[in-house]
């Protein structure tokens, strides 16, 4: 997972660097080529405009319809010349490095030739030789201007081509960046997808292991509980049936013996004493048996067991416990009933021993689809279980599990604890039927 994160971050960094580099390159292209090209073209257009002005002026000179000597045009030429010189100077600055010295020299020569011819023509004109000057304009000046114009036009065309190529290059860079962008996006998405899948997979495995562990633990606990219950039940039955029978028989025999020898007072007293001891042992066995596994549960059902047990606890502890029942009763199989009984036992045990409550409520609710057992007190309330006390709660949960139901520990509005066990009726009855 960490590796995935590192890879993702690294990819992002690499991509940012790449985009930056491309943008810097683009800027350089823009600066070096596009801007300079544009500036150069502007100057070339200015030059072309000036050459045009000269062309128009030359036509005016040849038209010979002005009442002015040819020399009058020299100021106009000087004005254009000043502007041309400035334009050529600026043009040379922006075009530096992009044109061969030969090209630059060619342009310079053309210009020099033009002005050379122009100067000679104006000298002729100033000396009154207008006709010869006009001939020279026709013969050489117009041709030189045309050559200059062609040279400038060619440069403009070159600039245009450069601009086109540059445009193409820029478009390529854009395309590349875009393509890389898609690749990066795809890569990043794949990385994220793989990382997520790996995460999901490992989490699932972890949860599966956990749940197996939990199930195993639960199974173990339930087996423990079941084993315990069956053992207790067996012992309880043995105690009740075997020892109970034996002690009852001993009692009967002692009664009979004392009737047969009524005169022997000492013996009589002894027998009576033995009989009392036996009776006491019988009572103890019965109590123990009852405590280990209430026989009443097997014999009279859950409800009767509760009817017997709740007042007994109240009596033994001196804490008044109100016991309510509601709904239409249905029978619960005793092997399952024992768990409900044990939950009640544990809950009441908590109530009497830990809650410090002066009163308790037990409610048995037969509902159409489930059986609900509630034990409520308004005592100290539920405290996170620690040590051995905790085992009681765990056992209560396990028993609820065994019953296929749920157990909730909540805090009533008045404070204290409300334990609510809910067992689906279907579970109780199906177990009953089977």
């Amino acid at each position: 997972m960490l590796l995935g994160l590192v890879i993702t971050l690294a990819t992002f960094l690499a991509y940012s660097w790449y985009v930056n580099a491309q943008i810097a390159g683009l800027r350089a292209v823009q600066r070096d080529l596009v801007d300079r090209n544009r500036k150069d073209s502007l100057q070339l257009l200015r030059i072309q405009n000036d050459l045009n002005s000269l062309d128009v002026a030359m036509r005016d000179m040849l038209d010979n319809d002005e009442p002015y000597p040819l020399a009058a045009w020299s100021t106009q030429f000087q004005r254009v010349r000043a502007d041309l010189d400035d334009a050529f100077r600026l043009e040379a600055q922006v075009t530096v490095g992009r044109r061969t010295p030969e090209q630059q020299e060619y342009l310079g020569n053309r210009l020099a030739q033009f002005w050379d011819a122009a100067d000679r023509i104006f000298t002729l004109a100033r000396n009154g030789n207008d006709k010869e000057a006009r001939d020279q304009i026709r013969l050489s000046l117009q041709a030189r201007l045309a050559a200059l114009n062609t040279a400038v036009a060619r440069l403009l065309v070159e600039n245009n081509e450069t601009e086109e190529q540059t445009g193409l290059r820029i478009a390529q860079i854009y395309d590349r960046v875009q393509r890389q962008g898609y690749v990066f996006l795809a890569g990043a998405l794949t990385a994220i997808l793989l990382t997520s899948l790996y995460l999901i997979q490992s989490n699932r495995r972890l949860f599966a292991e956990l749940s197996i562990l939990s199930e195993q633990r639960s199974e173990l606990a339930q087996k423990l509980i079941s084993t315990q219950e069956s053992t207790l039940r067996y012992i309880s039955r043995e105690l009740h049936d075997e020892f109970g029978q034996v002690l009852t028989a001993i009692g009967s025999m002692l009664s009979r013996m004392s009737q047969r020898s009524p005169q022997e007072v000492a013996l009589h007293a002894d027998l009576h004493e033995i009989k009392d001891v036996t009776q006491s042992a019988l009572d103890n066995v019965r109590t123990l048996s009852q405590a280990l596994h209430p026989v009443i549960l097997d014999e009279a059902g859950l409800e009767s067991a509760l009817d017997w047990y709740v007042p007994k606890v109240a009596r033994q502890t001196g804490i008044p416990i109100s016991y309510e029942k509601s709904g239409t009763p249905f029978a619960a199989e005793s092997r399952l009933g024992i768990h409900i009984y044990r939950v009640l036992q544990e809950a009441l045990n908590n109530l009497t021993r830990h809650s410090g409550a002066g009163e308790g409520w037990v409610r048995l609710k037969y509902q159409p689809d489930c059986l609900q057992l509630e034990v409520e007190d308004h005592g100290a309330g539920f405290v996170a279980p620690t040590g051995n006390d905790g085992i009681g709660l765990v056992a209560m949960r396990e028993r609820a599990e065994l019953l296929g139901g749920t157990i909730q520990f909540t805090r009533p509005a008045e404070g204290g604890t409300l334990v609510r066990l809910t067992v689906p009726r279907s579970r109780l009855e199906s177990a009953n039927g089977s």
Binding site: V56, W73, Q76
Partner: protein, 554 residues
């Protein structure tokens, strides 16, 4: 919903900025004043280029009675399409708010395709002479001093030139005390060589100047014997690339020698700096006024120069095509102009108008020059093509004295603000109440006279200058007044605006001041005079080297 919001916002805006009560009103008095003039462009459907551009108007005191008379230039029907006779018209001021048409008696009842007018006393006889620029041959009319004019085109040496002339101005460029003449020409055009242009490929429309080759302006040097010699080439003014429409006189470098600014249409403007030796040098590019701030040669039409920020250095307004804004320049001390159209508010307000005539006047006499510009498109189909309208409302930009201008044309007068196909524009105090009234001419439409009525009681002081050593009209003289911690300056000038000529006397608005501390006059001869403690609310006659005399009123 959004409409409701817009309306609410609008009314809130109006509440927040109630129409400022202007200190003046422009009242149309054309009819009552007896002026019934309608320009004839000669348009018959042939869509000949000159039809779109005329014509000009002028205030002049041709009879020297101290009352400004009016001259309106006219075109005429084209040869082969004759329907009516049309001539320029001269209206004599009856001194009671009305005018009398004296065209015929003055001898000006001559047909010509007139464009512009420039008025100057070229022979220094005290009576203003008239140059009418034309499509074809320009005409120079000498004032006889007896209420009549004589066509002296031939004698003066101006004959024999066919051109498409536009604005012109008189000025003494070489300081010899004689007025020389500068004539602007538009393009090489003649009816025979008219070019076919079309917007839809089928019907002929008016061409833009790009379709034609430029034409040089002309400079004529006054020989002093009633004739002129062509100084175009020798002075360096010669430039066949120009397509000039407007011209203004200024001393941009403050050297006491008159320089010339020429507004060119689709070509760079020209600023001809006087080199003091009979030559000029175009410094428009260096001065930053040849192109717009984006480097574009705009369609310059009219131009005027005025000290609108009372800095003593002339500022410049140039009207341009629609979508180009008025160029509104202020110069720094190094003679570099900066276009302040945007920051002053004039640019945005003039973006959709096509301006022609423009003049700086202190309409409310508050001591800050306002700017008036008349507008109107070239082609009637303009409203379909560009949606800006053929007839357009004029601008009257009121100067708040803090370099911000607001168009108050609508508040100044409803007739004034009505859309017109405006061309010429001139100012002159025809009713002698001390403020400047406005004369507007329209293409193929009526000329209109607007009387300026002051409402806030602002006062002015006016100066009539007469040169002795300098040219008699004192054109080029600079007058500067000082009052309440500020100073204002005006130049006596011909030319400016578009095809038009305003009165020569200079007017200063001084608000409620009844006195000014001093007035300084720099005569074209170089002489300077200073007068102290002058009273406002009246005019002064100043004669070079002879002193000053107060008039009763204006």
């Amino acid at each position: 919903m959004s409409q409701v919001i817009a309306v609410t916002a609008g009314s809130a805006f109006l509440r927040a900025f109630p129409p400022a009560t202007l200190g003046f009103r422009l009242v149309e008095v054309t009819g009552p004043a007896g002026i019934h003039f309608r320009h004839n462009s000669g348009a018959y459907g042939g869509k000949l280029l000159p039809e779109t551009l005329g014509s000009g108007c002028a205030f002049l005191d041709y009879d020297r009675d101290g009352w400004q008379d009016i001259l309106l230039v006219n075109g005429m029907d084209w040869p082969g399409h004759k329907r009516q006779r049309s001539t320029l018209h001269l209206y004599r001021n009856n001194r009671n708010g009305t005018f009398t048409d004296v065209t015929r008696s003055a001898g000006l009842d001559v047909e010509m395709y007139g464009m512009g007018v420039s008025v100057g006393d070229y022979n220094n006889d005290g009576y203003p002479d008239i140059l009418i620029t034309c499509v074809g041959q320009n005409r120079l009319f000498r004032n006889t001093g007896r209420g009549t004019f004589v066509d002296v085109t031939r004698q003066s040496g101006l004959a024999g030139r066919q051109a498409f002339s536009t604005s012109a101005l008189w000025f003494d460029f070489d300081g010899d005390g004689l007025l020389d003449l500068l004539v602007c020409n538009y393009v090489k055009w003649s009816p025979e060589h008219d070019v076919f242009c079309s917007l839809d490929g089928k019907h002929k429309s008016y061409c833009t100047p790009e379709a034609y080759r430029g034409e040089t302006c002309w400079l004529f040097h006054n020989r002093g014997d009633g004739s002129f010699e062509d100084a175009t080439a020798t002075s360096g003014i010669f430039d066949t690339s120009s397509k000039s429409l407007g011209v203004a006189l200024l001393d941009y470098d403050q050297d006491g020698w008159p320089d010339v600014l020429i507004a060119n249409d689709t070509q760079p403007n020209k600023l001809y700096r006087n080199l003091h030796n009979g030559k000029f040098k175009d410094v428009a590019v260096e001065a930053g006024i040849a192109f717009s701030s984006e480097g574009k040669a705009r369609a310059g039409m009219g131009v005027d120069v005025g000290d609108f920020d009372n800095s003593g250095i002339p500022g410049i307004a140039i009207t341009n095509f629609d979508n180009e804004m008025i160029g509104f320049y202020r110069a720094d001390r190094h003679g570099l102009f900066e276009d302040m159209a945007l920051s002053t508010g004039i640019g945005p307000a003039s973006r959709n108008t096509l301006g022609f005539g423009c003049v700086f006047v202190d309409a409310d006499l508050d001591g800050a020059l306002d700017l008036v510009a008349v507008n109107g498109h070239i082609d009637e189909t303009a409203r379909f093509v560009r949606g800006v309208g053929y007839a357009q409302a004029p601008h009257l930009f009121r100067n708040d004295g803090k370099a911000h201008f607001t168009d108050v044309a609508a508040q100044a007068g409803s007739e004034f603000a009505q859309p017109k196909v405006g061309r010429g524009l001139a100012y002159g105090d025809f009713d002698r109440d001390g403020d400047q009234d406005i004369l507007v001419s329209a293409n193929n439409g009526p000329a209109q006279l607007f009387r300026n009525d002051q409402l806030a009681g602002n006062r002015s002081i006016r100066f009539h200058l007469t040169g002795t050593k300098s040219n008699r009209d004192a054109i080029g003289a600079n007058v500067r007044i000082f009052h309440s911690g500020m100073s204002q300056s005006r130049m006596v000038k011909s030319g400016s605006s578009y095809l038009s000529q305003s009165e020569l006397p200079v007017t200063f608005g001084v608000g409620k001041q009844d006195k000014i501390e001093r007035a300084a006059i720099e005569w074209p001869s170089g002489r300077t005079e200073e007068y102290k403690q002058l009273t406002s609310g009246r005019a002064y006659d100043c004669v070079e080297a002879k002193g000053i005399a107060s008039r009763e009123g204006f």
